[in-house]
Symmetry: C2
């Protein structure tokens, strides 16, 4: 049994994810974060340039995972329904495997400072377009009924991104159950 000894850097990162999610980025101080890690506040700066840098790392890591999960989804022979189902499942699996970090990603990104904030928004928009594109083509091919694409995309994302809370609830739902049920619910609403 290999008990992985995690580095101080990893420790800071994991603790930050936990605290930022529990109490919000702005409400968590460097001293509090350091205390939870078991070091003093200035020691954090041996590993991260700034508080913003820490948030940036958390957010951009999750962003990268979303893009990675989408790879292969858009293979051209598949139907719009199959593509969207695969995209939904990939998205949910990233959340499920990064509960704390993805929650920070969705709730605290607004605290990113300026070069990072713009970069974040650009990437998120790009990712959103991938989903919208599937729906758009699905409507045009007649797989989905004509609907306001923006509304549909928003609905799907907000449903998916709240998955975090589901895992925390008392009922034991597996990732597969959640992904399956949610994909069914949303896809049925789209079908023409």
């Amino acid at each position: 049994m290999a008990t992985a000894t995690i580095s101080t850097r990893q420790n800071i990162r994991l603790t930050a994810q936990k605290l930022f999610r529990e109490r919000g980025y702005a409400a968590v101080g460097m001293r509090e974060l350091a205390k939870e890690v078991g070091i003093e506040a200035p020691s954090i700066y041996n590993h991260y340039k700034s508080k913003d840098d820490l948030l940036r790392e958390i957010c951009s890591d999750i962003a990268a995972q979303f893009f990675k999960a989408f790879e292969g989804v858009d293979a051209d022979e598949k139907s719009a329904t199959k593509k969207l189902r695969a995209a939904i499942k990939g998205h949910i699996s990233v959340i499920a495997n990064n509960l704390e970090a993805s929650s920070v990603f969705f709730q605290e990104w607004m605290f990113l400072e300026e070069p990072n904030l713009a970069q974040f928004k650009k990437q998120r928009h790009e990712y959103e377009l991938k989903f919208r594109d599937i729906i758009d083509k699905g409507i045009k091919k007649g797989d989905f009924k004509p609907m306001n694409i923006k509304l549909v995309t928003f609905t799907i994302f907000s449903a998916l991104n709240a998955t975090y809370d589901l895992y925390r609830s008392n009922e034991r739902l597996t990732q597969d159950q959640i992904a399956e049920d949610m994909a069914n619910l949303l896809l049925k609403g789209l079908k023409s």
Copy 2:
């Protein structure tokens, strides 16, 4: 043309809603709030006991509106589908008529301090139960297909509560369009 002269108190409240939504409760200081209102920070304390008190008023006002909007929805002769549709429309209309305040309600409630926080959670749970109850009965009567109720309720709420962002988007969607389309999308997914 009655140009309504609003009181300083109302002014503080409205400005707080706007700033809390834009930048987050924790990130907005009393001096910044005061400046935006056009007064000095200590003057706020002539109208509100504390920063927490201000957040509490915003949140509990919205909570009351959600309960009010639900009145009459649960009349017994209606089908589960009709009830849920009415509940969804009522919920969305509260959001639509209180864009800033409802956004604060959903995103910043976690910063409430202790007696208020517990009260908030209790009320929210109560409200959630009303929705869950409709779905539960709908499944038992065969109107809806059997699904995990918690998952369904979460999906519906997260879709509804993100409505805020839709209004802000470039496309012009009316409240009725949003309510109608979203209710259709979600109800179709539920139907047995």
